[in-house]
Symmetry: C2
Subunit: 151 residues, 2 copies
Protein backbone atom coordinates (compact mmCIF):
# COMPACT_ATOMS: atom_id res chain seq x y z
CA UNK A 1 0.00 0.00 0.00
CA UNK A 2 1.55 3.26 -1.10
CA UNK A 3 1.98 6.20 1.19
CA UNK A 4 -0.67 8.07 -0.75
CA UNK A 5 -3.10 5.19 -0.33
CA UNK A 6 -2.50 5.11 3.37
CA UNK A 7 -3.09 8.81 3.78
CA UNK A 8 -6.25 8.65 1.72
CA UNK A 9 -7.74 5.79 3.62
CA UNK A 10 -6.84 7.45 6.87
CA UNK A 11 -8.57 10.59 5.68
CA UNK A 12 -11.57 8.53 4.67
CA UNK A 13 -11.83 7.03 8.12
CA UNK A 14 -11.63 10.47 9.67
CA UNK A 15 -14.50 11.61 7.50
CA UNK A 16 -16.57 8.62 8.48
CA UNK A 17 -16.00 9.43 12.11
CA UNK A 18 -17.20 12.96 11.41
CA UNK A 19 -20.25 11.66 9.61
CA UNK A 20 -19.15 12.95 6.23
CA UNK A 21 -18.05 11.21 3.08
CA UNK A 22 -14.79 11.34 1.22
CA UNK A 23 -16.21 10.73 -2.22
CA UNK A 24 -14.31 9.76 -5.30
CA UNK A 25 -14.06 13.31 -6.57
CA UNK A 26 -13.01 14.61 -3.22
CA UNK A 27 -10.32 11.96 -3.05
CA UNK A 28 -9.02 13.01 -6.42
CA UNK A 29 -8.76 16.65 -5.43
CA UNK A 30 -7.07 15.70 -2.19
CA UNK A 31 -4.68 13.44 -4.07
CA UNK A 32 -3.78 16.30 -6.32
CA UNK A 33 -2.74 18.37 -3.36
CA UNK A 34 -0.98 15.50 -1.64
CA UNK A 35 1.12 14.77 -4.67
CA UNK A 36 2.05 18.37 -5.27
CA UNK A 37 5.10 19.78 -3.60
CA UNK A 38 3.69 23.26 -3.78
CA UNK A 39 0.48 25.13 -3.13
CA UNK A 40 -2.05 24.97 -5.95
CA UNK A 41 -4.77 27.35 -7.00
CA UNK A 42 -8.30 26.14 -7.50
CA UNK A 43 -7.94 26.32 -11.24
CA UNK A 44 -4.62 24.49 -11.22
CA UNK A 45 -6.42 21.70 -9.41
CA UNK A 46 -9.17 21.70 -12.01
CA UNK A 47 -6.59 21.20 -14.72
CA UNK A 48 -4.66 18.65 -12.74
CA UNK A 49 -7.70 16.50 -12.08
CA UNK A 50 -8.99 16.70 -15.61
CA UNK A 51 -5.65 15.74 -17.08
CA UNK A 52 -4.74 13.07 -14.59
CA UNK A 53 -8.08 11.35 -14.28
CA UNK A 54 -9.55 12.19 -17.64
CA UNK A 55 -12.57 13.64 -15.94
CA UNK A 56 -14.45 16.84 -16.29
CA UNK A 57 -14.26 18.80 -13.08
CA UNK A 58 -15.95 22.17 -13.21
CA UNK A 59 -14.32 25.00 -11.29
CA UNK A 60 -17.43 25.24 -9.16
CA UNK A 61 -17.05 21.65 -8.01
CA UNK A 62 -13.46 22.14 -7.06
CA UNK A 63 -14.31 25.18 -4.99
CA UNK A 64 -16.98 23.21 -3.19
CA UNK A 65 -14.71 20.26 -2.65
CA UNK A 66 -11.96 22.48 -1.31
CA UNK A 67 -14.38 24.03 1.10
CA UNK A 68 -15.36 20.58 2.27
CA UNK A 69 -11.78 19.42 2.66
CA UNK A 70 -11.00 22.53 4.62
CA UNK A 71 -13.83 21.86 7.02
CA UNK A 72 -12.49 18.38 7.52
CA UNK A 73 -9.08 19.90 8.18
CA UNK A 74 -7.57 17.87 5.39
CA UNK A 75 -6.40 20.92 3.50
CA UNK A 76 -5.48 24.47 4.40
CA UNK A 77 -6.26 27.55 2.42
CA UNK A 78 -3.43 30.03 2.15
CA UNK A 79 -5.04 33.43 2.00
CA UNK A 80 -1.82 35.17 1.18
CA UNK A 81 -1.34 33.19 -2.01
CA UNK A 82 -4.93 32.22 -2.78
CA UNK A 83 -3.81 28.67 -2.93
CA UNK A 84 -4.36 25.39 -1.17
CA UNK A 85 -2.14 22.77 0.42
CA UNK A 86 -2.83 19.37 1.91
CA UNK A 87 -2.51 19.33 5.65
CA UNK A 88 0.89 18.01 6.60
CA UNK A 89 -0.52 16.02 9.51
CA UNK A 90 -3.42 14.07 8.09
CA UNK A 91 -2.15 10.80 9.48
CA UNK A 92 -1.56 12.16 12.95
CA UNK A 93 -4.31 11.35 15.36
CA UNK A 94 -3.65 14.04 17.92
CA UNK A 95 -5.24 17.45 17.76
CA UNK A 96 -2.95 19.95 16.13
CA UNK A 97 -1.91 23.39 17.00
CA UNK A 98 -3.07 25.97 14.51
CA UNK A 99 -0.41 25.87 11.84
CA UNK A 100 1.66 28.66 10.43
CA UNK A 101 2.90 28.66 6.87
CA UNK A 102 6.01 29.70 5.05
CA UNK A 103 5.21 30.33 1.42
CA UNK A 104 7.90 30.63 -1.21
CA UNK A 105 6.86 33.53 -3.38
CA UNK A 106 8.89 32.11 -6.23
CA UNK A 107 7.96 28.46 -6.54
CA UNK A 108 4.94 28.33 -4.24
CA UNK A 109 6.42 25.59 -2.15
CA UNK A 110 5.03 25.65 1.33
CA UNK A 111 6.28 24.58 4.69
CA UNK A 112 3.80 24.05 7.46
CA UNK A 113 5.50 24.93 10.69
CA UNK A 114 4.84 26.12 14.19
CA UNK A 115 6.01 29.29 15.77
CA UNK A 116 6.89 28.73 19.38
CA UNK A 117 4.14 29.22 21.92
CA UNK A 118 5.98 32.05 23.52
CA UNK A 119 6.51 33.96 20.29
CA UNK A 120 2.90 33.45 19.35
CA UNK A 121 1.94 34.62 22.79
CA UNK A 122 3.86 37.84 22.51
CA UNK A 123 2.40 38.52 19.08
CA UNK A 124 -1.07 38.10 20.50
CA UNK A 125 -0.30 40.36 23.42
CA UNK A 126 0.99 43.11 21.16
CA UNK A 127 -2.05 42.81 18.92
CA UNK A 128 -4.35 43.17 21.90
CA UNK A 129 -2.44 46.23 23.02
CA UNK A 130 -3.21 47.75 19.64
CA UNK A 131 -6.89 47.16 20.36
CA UNK A 132 -7.31 44.45 17.77
CA UNK A 133 -8.06 40.80 18.27
CA UNK A 134 -6.44 37.98 16.32
CA UNK A 135 -9.04 36.09 14.33
CA UNK A 136 -6.77 33.26 13.47
CA UNK A 137 -3.40 32.03 14.57
CA UNK A 138 -2.82 30.80 11.06
CA UNK A 139 -0.07 33.22 10.21
CA UNK A 140 1.29 33.18 6.69
CA UNK A 141 4.67 34.54 5.81
CA UNK A 142 6.03 35.40 2.40
CA UNK A 143 9.40 33.75 2.10
CA UNK A 144 11.90 32.28 -0.27
CA UNK A 145 12.69 28.61 0.09
CA UNK A 146 16.33 27.60 0.25
CA UNK A 147 16.72 26.74 -3.39
CA UNK A 148 14.91 29.84 -4.68
CA UNK A 149 16.92 32.02 -2.33
CA UNK A 150 20.09 30.56 -3.77
CA UNK A 151 19.01 31.35 -7.34
Amino acid sequence: MSKLQRILSHAEQQCQINGSRLTDKRKKVLSGLLQSDRALSAYELVDYCNETYDENFAAMSVYRILEFLEQEQLVHKLNLANRYVACGHITCDHQHEVPQFLICTDCQSVKEFSISRSTLGSIKRQVEQANFHLVSEQIELNCLCKSCAAA
Copy 2:
Protein backbone atom coordinates in the same frame (compact mmCIF):
# COMPACT_ATOMS: atom_id res chain seq x y z
CA MET B 1 -3.82 74.43 5.03
CA SER B 2 -5.67 71.25 5.85
CA LYS B 3 -3.98 68.18 7.15
CA LEU B 4 -4.67 66.45 3.85
CA GLN B 5 -3.03 69.29 1.97
CA ARG B 6 0.01 69.13 4.15
CA ILE B 7 0.41 65.42 3.65
CA LEU B 8 -0.02 65.74 -0.09
CA SER B 9 2.52 68.49 -0.48
CA HIS B 10 4.94 66.60 1.70
CA ALA B 11 4.45 63.55 -0.50
CA GLU B 12 5.00 65.69 -3.54
CA GLN B 13 8.29 66.94 -2.19
CA GLN B 14 9.38 63.39 -1.46
CA CYS B 15 8.63 62.43 -5.04
CA GLN B 16 10.62 65.36 -6.36
CA ILE B 17 13.56 64.28 -4.28
CA ASN B 18 13.25 60.82 -5.79
CA GLY B 19 13.08 62.28 -9.26
CA SER B 20 9.50 61.23 -9.83
CA ARG B 21 6.30 63.19 -10.16
CA LEU B 22 3.18 63.16 -8.07
CA THR B 23 0.77 64.02 -10.84
CA ASP B 24 -2.77 65.20 -10.44
CA LYS B 25 -4.26 61.76 -10.94
CA ARG B 26 -1.81 60.20 -8.56
CA LYS B 27 -2.68 62.81 -5.98
CA LYS B 28 -6.33 62.00 -6.33
CA VAL B 29 -5.78 58.31 -5.81
CA LEU B 30 -3.57 58.99 -2.83
CA SER B 31 -6.17 61.37 -1.41
CA GLY B 32 -8.77 58.65 -1.70
CA LEU B 33 -6.69 56.38 0.44
CA LEU B 34 -5.76 59.11 2.89
CA GLN B 35 -9.36 60.02 3.47
CA SER B 36 -10.52 56.47 3.94
CA ASP B 37 -10.44 54.89 7.36
CA ARG B 38 -10.20 51.44 5.85
CA ALA B 39 -8.30 49.59 3.17
CA LEU B 40 -9.71 50.00 -0.32
CA SER B 41 -9.61 47.73 -3.31
CA ALA B 42 -8.43 49.01 -6.66
CA TYR B 43 -11.95 49.10 -8.00
CA GLU B 44 -13.27 50.89 -4.94
CA LEU B 45 -10.69 53.55 -5.65
CA VAL B 46 -11.80 53.74 -9.26
CA ASP B 47 -15.34 54.42 -8.12
CA TYR B 48 -14.24 56.82 -5.41
CA CYS B 49 -12.19 58.94 -7.78
CA ASN B 50 -14.78 58.99 -10.50
CA GLU B 51 -17.52 60.05 -8.12
CA THR B 52 -15.52 62.51 -6.09
CA TYR B 53 -13.67 64.24 -8.87
CA ASP B 54 -16.08 63.64 -11.72
CA GLU B 55 -13.29 62.08 -13.73
CA ASN B 56 -13.00 58.93 -15.70
CA PHE B 57 -10.33 56.73 -14.19
CA ALA B 58 -9.92 53.40 -15.89
CA ALA B 59 -9.10 50.43 -13.72
CA MET B 60 -5.83 50.05 -15.58
CA SER B 61 -4.75 53.54 -14.57
CA VAL B 62 -5.51 52.97 -10.95
CA TYR B 63 -3.47 49.80 -10.90
CA ARG B 64 -0.56 51.64 -12.44
CA ILE B 65 -0.89 54.53 -10.07
CA LEU B 66 -1.05 52.22 -7.08
CA GLU B 67 2.09 50.51 -8.26
CA PHE B 68 3.79 53.88 -8.48
CA LEU B 69 2.61 54.98 -5.05
CA GLU B 70 3.82 51.72 -3.61
CA GLN B 71 7.27 52.24 -5.07
CA GLU B 72 7.34 55.68 -3.52
CA GLN B 73 6.35 54.11 -0.22
CA LEU B 74 3.29 56.30 -0.02
CA VAL B 75 0.89 53.39 0.10
CA HIS B 76 1.09 49.78 1.18
CA LYS B 77 -0.53 46.86 -0.51
CA LEU B 78 -2.14 44.39 1.82
CA ASN B 79 -1.77 41.03 0.13
CA LEU B 80 -4.02 39.32 2.60
CA ALA B 81 -6.97 41.52 1.70
CA ASN B 82 -6.02 42.59 -1.82
CA ARG B 83 -6.46 46.13 -0.72
CA TYR B 84 -4.44 49.27 -0.31
CA VAL B 85 -3.84 51.74 2.47
CA ALA B 86 -2.00 55.02 2.66
CA CYS B 87 1.19 54.79 4.60
CA GLY B 88 0.62 56.02 8.13
CA HIS B 89 3.95 57.82 8.23
CA ILE B 90 4.10 59.88 5.06
CA THR B 91 4.94 63.04 6.95
CA CYS B 92 7.69 61.46 8.96
CA ASP B 93 11.13 62.16 7.62
CA HIS B 94 12.98 59.34 9.30
CA GLN B 95 13.37 55.95 7.70
CA HIS B 96 10.69 53.61 8.93
CA GLU B 97 10.76 50.14 10.21
CA VAL B 98 8.94 47.76 7.92
CA PRO B 99 5.36 47.96 9.10
CA GLN B 100 3.06 45.19 10.16
CA PHE B 101 -0.67 45.37 9.64
CA LEU B 102 -3.71 44.38 11.58
CA ILE B 103 -6.63 43.97 9.22
CA CYS B 104 -10.19 43.78 10.44
CA THR B 105 -11.79 41.04 8.39
CA ASP B 106 -15.17 42.57 9.01
CA CYS B 107 -14.89 46.27 8.24
CA GLN B 108 -11.47 46.35 6.54
CA SER B 109 -10.15 48.91 8.92
CA VAL B 110 -6.42 48.68 9.21
CA LYS B 111 -3.94 49.50 11.89
CA GLU B 112 -0.32 49.93 10.93
CA PHE B 113 1.72 48.83 13.87
CA SER B 114 5.08 47.43 14.80
CA ILE B 115 5.87 44.17 16.41
CA SER B 116 8.70 44.51 18.87
CA ARG B 117 12.18 43.98 17.53
CA SER B 118 12.68 40.99 19.77
CA THR B 119 9.50 39.26 18.67
CA LEU B 120 10.31 39.93 15.05
CA GLY B 121 13.77 38.59 15.67
CA SER B 122 12.54 35.34 17.09
CA ILE B 123 10.13 34.90 14.18
CA LYS B 124 12.98 35.38 11.76
CA ARG B 125 15.15 32.93 13.62
CA GLN B 126 12.47 30.27 13.59
CA VAL B 127 11.86 30.80 9.90
CA GLU B 128 15.54 30.38 9.14
CA GLN B 129 15.60 27.20 11.18
CA ALA B 130 12.88 25.90 8.88
CA ASN B 131 15.20 26.60 5.95
CA PHE B 132 13.15 29.45 4.59
CA HIS B 133 14.02 33.09 4.36
CA LEU B 134 11.62 35.95 5.10
CA VAL B 135 11.10 38.01 1.96
CA SER B 136 9.39 40.79 3.78
CA GLU B 137 8.90 41.79 7.33
CA GLN B 138 5.54 43.17 6.33
CA ILE B 139 3.47 40.71 8.28
CA GLU B 140 -0.29 40.91 7.90
CA LEU B 141 -2.65 39.52 10.49
CA ASN B 142 -6.33 38.83 10.13
CA CYS B 143 -8.02 40.42 13.09
CA LEU B 144 -11.20 41.97 14.34
CA CYS B 145 -11.07 45.57 15.39
CA LYS B 146 -12.51 46.47 18.76
CA SER B 147 -15.91 47.56 17.54
CA CYS B 148 -16.39 44.61 15.20
CA ALA B 149 -15.28 42.22 17.92
CA ALA B 150 -17.92 43.70 20.19
CA ALA B 151 -20.65 43.17 17.60
